[in-house]
């Protein structure tokens, strides 16, 4: 139901556009109407990779150009119809995506963007070297339809629209599926995504393959519209920039962004070129540039998000009310801790784990056991190696020495998503929520590691949200939440993957007294429900009431281990926290 309804707006938009285009008889306006869906699809292909994963590609012209040249050269040398060549172009684009993605995804951030910039420019020179400076599609006077050479320019527009509609629908399907969720998770925090059980490299490769295929297909169609292919017109900097421009203007990371950008910018550029350019040649570029700069300043994330935020604000005024109170009530119903039966079964065993960074021994020779259903508090002063220990446990770091046994199996050195699949979930000291997504959607990301289908994932997520007491606000966007609610949401994301062991990294940080108690209550309830938990925390107070056992680290090594009452009186612990002077006091 939901799905069908979401396909309605693009369908209506496409139909309206088609009706408008059929009413236009001027062949020049018709050409502009054809170019709008072309650049919209190219923007969408860019958006599929860069908009959702946040890995900015300055080089989408590589795929576009491969498609355009494949379509042109296939007609010239093999006399194949473009009806066949455009799908072939898509396949080639996909292969190019895979070949480019595999080495380039080793890079991140600006380095990725710059490396991507190099591909089309390099390919441009290859095509010049091959002698394809100017390629024109052979005119087919006897079989124009078979070679996609329509006398009626409306047909180009309709074909362009068909491509746009299918790309929009495809993007929407992806957006809602495990695929889209994985990409969004990568965008927010690639490390956290790995920790949530997402094989980031595999998803990124899928994204660039699909993105390259779409870009190449539309590049092939573009060649068919332009009839002339030159390296600069399909591999040039301006082509790559066009994809960024329409997507960033309209809105990044949404299916409507590139469409909005293209619908506004392409005709605007042409009108300026035709009207202003005829009077003062060159002025069109200046006006166009200023217009884009203004919109970027006023709506940095694109028009779509700006408009949506405005609408949401208006709606929020009308409906904002009682939700907050119900949340609080929901959480306080949980009772304080009561002793739990410790079964004694070891679920996680760490043996002689060490990791050094150069000369710094961040973790040295740490061994401990985590028993089923217990809460282990890992404490120690700043720089004691607590977070490094977690990073070793969940695979962010490879240990220099030692073993991590999960359920008896050595998992040390495995990638994070593999360890997550083995049943370890974690939260982070620094929260990275997906601010524009609802709480439920945020949590779904974590559910896919166990869920087989999208529906099952939503079910797991809803359960997780209920367990942390956020059901009442599940549909609000994360950007509107308080720190406490965000902490709970992070917790929900970690348990949505149904882990056996939960690693909590300073979950209580930044919370006030009352708030911390509420979160503690939730964690206790999780433990009562059978979860095994290791938690890092600075503040002793809350911890003493929460944990069954303490592991104390200092300078990367275990200084003691034991029950809370014993550990807090241990002079070595006091010394580690407060210094030698106070250790003496404590002994007395």
């Amino acid at each position: 139901m939901l799905r069908m309804r979401s396909f309605l707006p693009p369908l209506l938009f496409t139909l309206a556009y088609a009706v408008v285009s059929l009413g236009v008889t001027n062949s020049y306006y018709q050409l502009i109407l054809t170019l709008v869906p072309v650049w919209a699809v190219f923007g969408l292909s860019w958006n599929l990779l860069s908009g959702y994963t946040g890995l900015i590609s300055f080089g989408h012209a590589a795929f576009f150009g491969i498609g355009a040249y494949a379509t042109a050269l296939g007609q010239i040398y093999f006399d194949i119809s473009p009806w066949l060549l455009i799908p072939i172009a898509a396949v080639l684009g996909g292969i190019a995506g895979l070949l480019i993605g595999f080495p380039t995804f080793r890079l991140q951030g600006h380095y990725f963007a710059l490396a991507m910039l190099a591909y089309p420019l390099a390919i441009l020179y290859v095509f010049e070297w091959l002698g394809f400076q100017e390629v024109t599609l052979p005119i087919k006077r006897d079989a124009p339809i078979a070679y996609m050479q329509f006398a009626d320019p409306h047909l180009y527009t309709l074909l362009g629209l068909a491509l746009m509609l299918s790309t929009i629908v495809l993007t929407q399907i992806i957006e809602r599926s495990r695929f889209g969720m994985a990409l969004l998770a990568i965008k927010q925090n690639e490390a956290a995504a790995e920790a949530a059980g997402i094989n980031t490299l595999a998803w990124k490769l899928r994204a660039i393959t699909l993105s390259g295929a779409i870009a190449a297909a539309i590049g092939g169609f573009y060649a068919q519209v332009l009839l002339v292919v030159t390296p600069a017109s399909v591999f040039g900097m301006l082509v790559s920039a066009q994809a960024l421009t329409v997507a960033m203007f309209g809105g990044v990371g949404t299916v409507w962004g590139p469409v909005i950008g293209s619908v506004i910018l392409i005709p605007l550029a042409e009108i300026l070129h035709a009207e202003a350019g005829a009077r003062i040649p060159g002025i069109q570029g200046v006006i166009f540039g200023i217009a884009i700069v203004c919109v970027i300043l006023l709506a940095p994330e694109g028009l779509f998000w700006k408009l949506r935020d405005l609408l949401r604000k208006r709606n929020a005024k009308a409906t904002a009310s009682d939700t907050v109170a119900t949340v609080a009530a929901n959480v306080t119903t949980l009772r304080p801790a009561s002793p739990r039966p410790a079964t004694g079964e070891v679920v996680l065993e760490v043996r002689n784990l060490s990791r050094s960074f150069g000369g710094l021994k961040a973790v040295q020779d740490v061994s401990f056991k985590l028993h089923k259903n217990e809460i282990l508090g890992i404490i120690g002063p700043n720089g004691a190696g607590k977070t490094t220990l977690f990073n070793l446990l969940n695979g962010f770091l490879k240990p220099s020495q030692g073993e991590v046994l999960i359920g008896g199996r050595d998992m040390s050195g495995q990638r994070p998503h593999v360890i997550c699949e083995a049943g370890i979930g974690r939260t982070f000291q620094v929260m990275r929520p997906f601010l524009r997504m609802s709480i439920l959607d945020n949590v779904v990301v974590g559910a896919y590691v166990r869920a087989r289908t999208d529906d099952q994932a939503r079910q797991f997520a809803a359960d997780a949200v209920a367990r942390v007491g956020l059901s009442a606000v599940a549909n609000r966007v994360a950007g509107e939440l308080s720190t406490k609610e965000l902490r709970l949401m992070e917790l929900a994301r970690a348990i949505a993957g149904q882990p056996r062991i939960l690693l909590l990294d300073e979950t209580l940080a930044g919370l006030g007294h009352g708030e911390a108690d509420e979160v503690v209550a939730v964690i206790q309830q999780l433990a009562r429900d059978g979860m095994t938990i290791a938690i890092i925390e600075h503040t002793m107070q809350a911890m003493v009431r929460l944990v069954d056992r303490f592991l104390v680290l200092d300078h990367g090594a275990v200084i003691t281990e034991g029950l809370p009452e014993v550990v807090t009186r241990d002079s070595r612990v006091v010394e580690a926290y407060l210094g030698k002077k106070w250790a003496g006091h404590a002994a007395n």
């Binding site: 100017e134 332009l226 002339v228 040039g236 070129h273 040649p281």
Partner: protein, 411 residues
């Protein structure tokens, strides 16, 4: 287009009729004005050649109208419609579509400087059945089987075929011996690549020239040192230097001069008008370019003195490049076709171009005002231009020469 559209929807026929039909209506009464198009780059990096072509077109229109307009149409005046084709292939295509959609009563057009732009423009005009004259010289333009494109310049491959033997003769006459070795430095634009292909595959062997250095760069050239070093160590009898951007030409020539190869130590020849553009003198001294020759499709020559003087007075252009004289000539060619057609109709004008045989050409070098079945001007020749005392003057063919060529002597 007409043949295929009949089977299509009613709308196709209507829109087709809208484009072609208006011209038909216009022919019923004798128009006071006949529109001709100039579709050239007036924005972006190719603005300058576009502007110069506009000067030529404006002068042509002015002269034709001053001399009584189109006599066969009761003295109707020509009116120039200028369309900016921008600096990309896509913009050129859009501009051409705008031209045929917005100006249905155009009878002919000329353009568009860069052959890539002309290719895109003529894809549109061919389908709209609008005849287009062009000074672009890519062979591809007239190899597509198009019926509405007319190329006034010799094609790139023809230019090298014509140019190199002439150049060799010039060298032999002036220095007493034939050059034996040649170095070739070129950028990788379509024009240079086409020229080089003809040279390497056929002409060097035919002229007994041995290619000793061949270097290709992608514009913009950042440093010419390694290129010129290779030339210096190879000591060829002839250097073919083929840039298509003024900045590249400047870098190369300065380096040639710096290495002591200038002033004719190694005779240097180019194949485009870039090296003879007025802009060159803004960045290099007349001494640096002295003696350098270039083989071009057209140039202000003997017999054009009045025109050159007018250009100087009116537009402050120091001399007349191919862009001016060819576009000026195109206006006269359109007039010729209109007189022959006897009506202001694009198809009649196209037919007039196809069947025209108007004798020797006044504004293009060599050959006739006549087009072959591909749309290439019959007998189109080349001009050799040489820098002499800060001005590139025509030195070949003799009937057009403004000055005697001098072959730089090896010292």
């Amino acid at each position: 287009m007409n043949k295929t559209s009949k089977g299509l929807t009613r709308r196709t026929v209507l829109s087709g009729a809208a484009a072609v039909g208006l011209a038909g209506v216009a022919r019923a009464q004798t128009p006071a004005e006949i529109k001709v198009g100039l579709i050239v780059p007036l924005s972006g990096i190719y603005t300058r050649p576009g502007q110069v072509m506009k000067m030529g077109a404006e002068m042509g229109i002015e002269h034709i109208n001053a001399q009584g307009g189109i006599k066969a149409l009761g003295g109707a005046k020509l009116k120039l419609v200028v369309i900016d084709c921008g600096d990309t292939t896509e913009k050129a295509k859009n501009a051409a579509q705008r031209m045929v959609a917005q100006e249905p009563d155009l009878v002919a057009a000329t353009g568009s400087y860069l052959s890539s732009f002309t290719l895109a423009v003529t894809e549109v005009t061919e389908r709209a059945e609008l005849p287009v004259l062009t000074l672009s010289y890519s062979d591809l333009l007239t190899d597509r089987g198009f019926k509405y494109i007319f190329q006034t310049a010799a094609t790139a491959s023809r230019q090298s075929e014509l140019g190199l033997p002439t150049l060799m003769k010039l060298a032999e006459n002036a220095s007493g011996k034939k050059p034996k070795t040649v170095a070739m430095l070129m950028d990788n634009t379509a024009t240079s690549v086409a020229t080089a292909k003809a040279l390497k595959e056929k002409l060097f062997a035919q002229e007994g020239l041995q290619l000793v250095v061949e270097e290709v760069w992608t514009p913009p050239l950042s440093d010419a040192t390694p290129l010129i070093q290779k030339v210096r160590s190879a000591k060829p009898d002839l250097l073919l230097f083929m840039p298509n951007a003024v900045s590249d030409a400047k870098l190369g020539l300065e380096k040639i001069s710096e290495f002591g190869l200038g002033q004719g130590k190694i005779p240097t020849v180019s194949f485009s008008i870039t090296i003879a553009e007025p802009d060159m003198l803004q960045s290099v001294s007349p001494e640096t370019v002295q003696g350098i020759m270039t083989i071009v499709a057209n140039w202000g020559s003997k017999g054009h003195e009045a025109l050159i003087a007018e250009l100087k007075a009116k537009y402050k252009e120091p001399w007349m490049t191919q862009n001016v004289i060819s576009t000026y000539g195109d206006m006269w060619l359109m007039k010729e076709a209109l007189e022959k057609a006897g009506k202001a109709d694009r198809n009649a004008v196209a037919q007039a171009f196809r069947t025209m045989d108007a004798g020797p050409s006044k504004y293009y070098p060599g050959g006739q005002l006549k087009f072959d079945e591909k749309g290439r001007r019959v007998g189109a020749g080349v001009v050799i231009v040489q820098w002499q005392s800060g001005v590139p003057v025509t030195v070949y063919p003799p009937e057009l020469a403004q000055a005697q060529p001098f072959w730089p002597k090896k010292s």
